[in-house]
């Protein structure tokens, strides 16, 4: 029943993002329209994949750092990605894949730095240090980004900022293909960690005594969730709140067991981002809102309601 409903919402979201748009395409022309096939369809699929990846990454990281307020971008990846993109622009690098690659490289650099900080005492990955290190690395990257921006030419930086706020307008079947090839590995790693993640909610020592290989699970989950997020940021910029809010909504309906929570967060995150992107394209057509603005506008009120629920319970 829950799965049927979620599946229906996801299919409707995908259909809506193919059918709706600033250019009026008659229904009878949908199957043959170039706009639909080469612009809207890849964009809808990409939105779904990115949203799903962020939802799963958020759910995994919240369990890992044992903090329900964790967001995939909290761990410094957005700062690193932004810095990478801005450096590429400041160096006047051009080409179709320059921004995504530079952002991906920046996110990976931040990931490596935070991961290294988290490995205190050689082996044990400390989630508290991951959180604090993530915030610190993110702030440091943001400071450098601002320094570069304040020294550089204003015109091209508008692009950098808009790109950072998230957008799927560069979507193509190529970027879809890239994500389709890339995402399954970290997704499978996270799904395989579903049961140990349930155990980690009790704390590391109880989890160990219930059979979880705690250190290995922490490493795998952190790396897989971060690699998913880095790819998402590379193809679509920083899209906030999907990774924060979707896992919580999924928990309300599916409970905290990651075996069903993670798939639900994937489908739910995908549907949410497909809807948000459709709104971003259509409400101020022919102009376009950054999709991160739309997810924040939807996500913040939902989140406020959730917080209210918690304080009552």
């Amino acid at each position: 029943m829950r799965w049927m409903l979620l599946g229906t919402v996801a299919v409707l979201a995908l259909l809506a993002s193919v059918v709706l748009g600033p250019a009026a395409v008659p229904l009878s022309e949908l199957g043959r329209s170039d706009i639909v096939w080469n612009l809207r369809a890849p964009r809808a699929v990409l939105a779904f994949l990115v949203g799903g990846s962020l939802g799963v990454a958020g759910a995994g990281l919240q369990a890992l750092v044992r903090n329900p307020l964790a967001d995939p971008f909290l761990l410094g990846l957005s700062g690193g990605a932004g810095l990478g993109a801005v450096i590429a622009l400041a160096l006047h690098l051009t080409g179709p894949w320059v921004l995504p690659l530079a952002a991906f490289a920046g996110a990976l650099a931040a990931l490596g730095l935070v991961y290294r900080m988290g490995l205190v005492g050689g082996a044990a990955l400390d989630p508290r240090i991951l959180l604090l290190g993530g915030v610190a690395v993110g702030a440091f990257a943001a400071a450098i980004t601002t320094a570069i921006v304040s020294l550089a030419d204003a015109a091209e930086l508008r692009n950098a900022f808009l790109w950072l706020w998230g957008g799927l307008s560069a979507a193509s079947w190529d970027s879809v293909l890239l994500l389709v090839l890339y995402a399954p590995v970290p997704l499978a790693v996270l799904l395989a960690a579903a049961r140990p993640l349930d155990l980690l909610a009790l704390g590391e020592e109880p989890a160990r005594y219930l059979g979880a290989d705690v250190e290995a699970v922490k490493r795998r989950v952190y790396l897989a969730a971060s690699l998913l997020t880095a790819a998402a940021v590379a193809v679509s910029g920083v899209i906030g709140f999907v990774g924060l809010v979707v896992p919580h909504i999924a928990r309300l309906a599916w409970g905290h067991r990651h075996r069903s929570l993670l798939p639900a967060a994937f489908i739910g995150g995908g549907a949410l981002l497909a809807i948000a992107d459709t709104l971003a394209r259509t409400v101020v057509a022919p102009r376009e809102l950054p999709v991160g603005v739309v997810t924040a506008l939807i996500g913040v009120p939902v989140f406020a309601l959730l917080l209210r629920r918690w304080t009552i319970a």
Binding site: D198, L202, P206, Y209, G211, A212
Partner: protein, 269 residues
């Protein structure tokens, strides 16, 4: 007493925490077989929890050996070990709200394959564990609505759902009132007698350990002071020395019971 091969065997175990100036534990030997209830006693900081961590392979001994079923504790894959040893740790959190049956289900995780769903025998084991702990009527409650005593019973049920041969409890009766404390010890003793479970319990409650355990090991500053039957170990001299407080010993059901004495008032000059 037990001819069966031991489940846990620790021989002359020594451990020092990184950076510490002296051993947290040294010269400790301990054997737990099926159907035996062992208690480890000692004041705060005497090395009781370190002993549990060494027994379960969470720490590697600097000297001596710690073996479970004749295999070094550290060499066991965690999931396999969790099918042999169930632990009720001193502390745990609940990050997300959970119902009792869900938390007991976590005890079945060591038996489940990577992708497999719970099988009928898993659900049967959960119901058996709940029944053994008199917690069946709690199954649909939220964990956070339980009283301290109910919560401890549920945690024991989760460890039993692992279907272990050895049950380890770390200070299980702390913060329980009289009835729940007694009920918990009766429950554990019953499991030892009925199903032949081996039990290793960490506690600083001398009297309950003396009443329920077959053997006790008394630790002081990381060293074993005495080990054996409660009546042999818990003498007035030993208890006073280890706990640095005057006591008197009495006997109930043939087991020693300790009553701490009031500090005599300093005479007014």
């Amino acid at each position: 007493m037990s001819a069966a091969s031991p489940i846990l065997r620790m021989r002359d175990v020594r451990y020092r925490y990184p950076g510490a100036s002296q051993d947290a534990l040294a010269g400790v030997s301990l054997t737990v077989g099926p159907g035996e209830f062992h208690a480890v006693l000692g004041p705060n900081g005497s090395g009781k929890t370190t002993l549990v961590r060494l027994a379960l392979g969470a720490l590697i001994p600097a000297g001596g050996t710690s073996e479970i079923l004749e295999r070094p504790a550290r060499a066991w894959p965690r999931q396999e070990l969790a099918r042999v040893v169930g632990v009720v740790p001193q502390r745990e959190d609940n990050l997300f709200p959970q119902r009792v049956r869900e938390t007991v289900l976590l005890g079945r995780y060591p038996h489940l394959s990577l992708w497999g769903k719970e099988r009928p025998e898993d659900h049967a084991a959960i119901e058996r564990a709940l029944a053994a702990c008199d917690a069946t009527q709690l199954a649909d409650r939220w964990v956070w609505t339980l009283s301290g005593g109910e919560y401890q019973r549920v945690r024991v049920a989760r460890a039993l759902a692992q279907e272990p041969r050895l049950l380890v409890l770390d200070e299980p009766a702390v913060s329980l009132d009289l009835r729940h404390e007694m009920a918990l010890f009766e429950l554990v003793r019953g499991l030892v007698d009925r199903v032949g479970l081996g039990v290793l319990m960490i506690t600083h409650d001398l009297n309950l350990a003396a009443r329920y355990a077959d053997t006790v090991l008394l630790l002081s500053e990381g060293r074993p002071v005495a080990a054996g039957a409660p009546a042999d170990v818990l003498t007035r001299e030993t208890v006073e020395r280890v706990f640095s407080w005057p006591v008197t010993m009495q006997s109930v059901d043939g087991r020693p019971q300790m009553v701490p004495l009031r500090q005599p008032k300093e005479p007014v000059a």
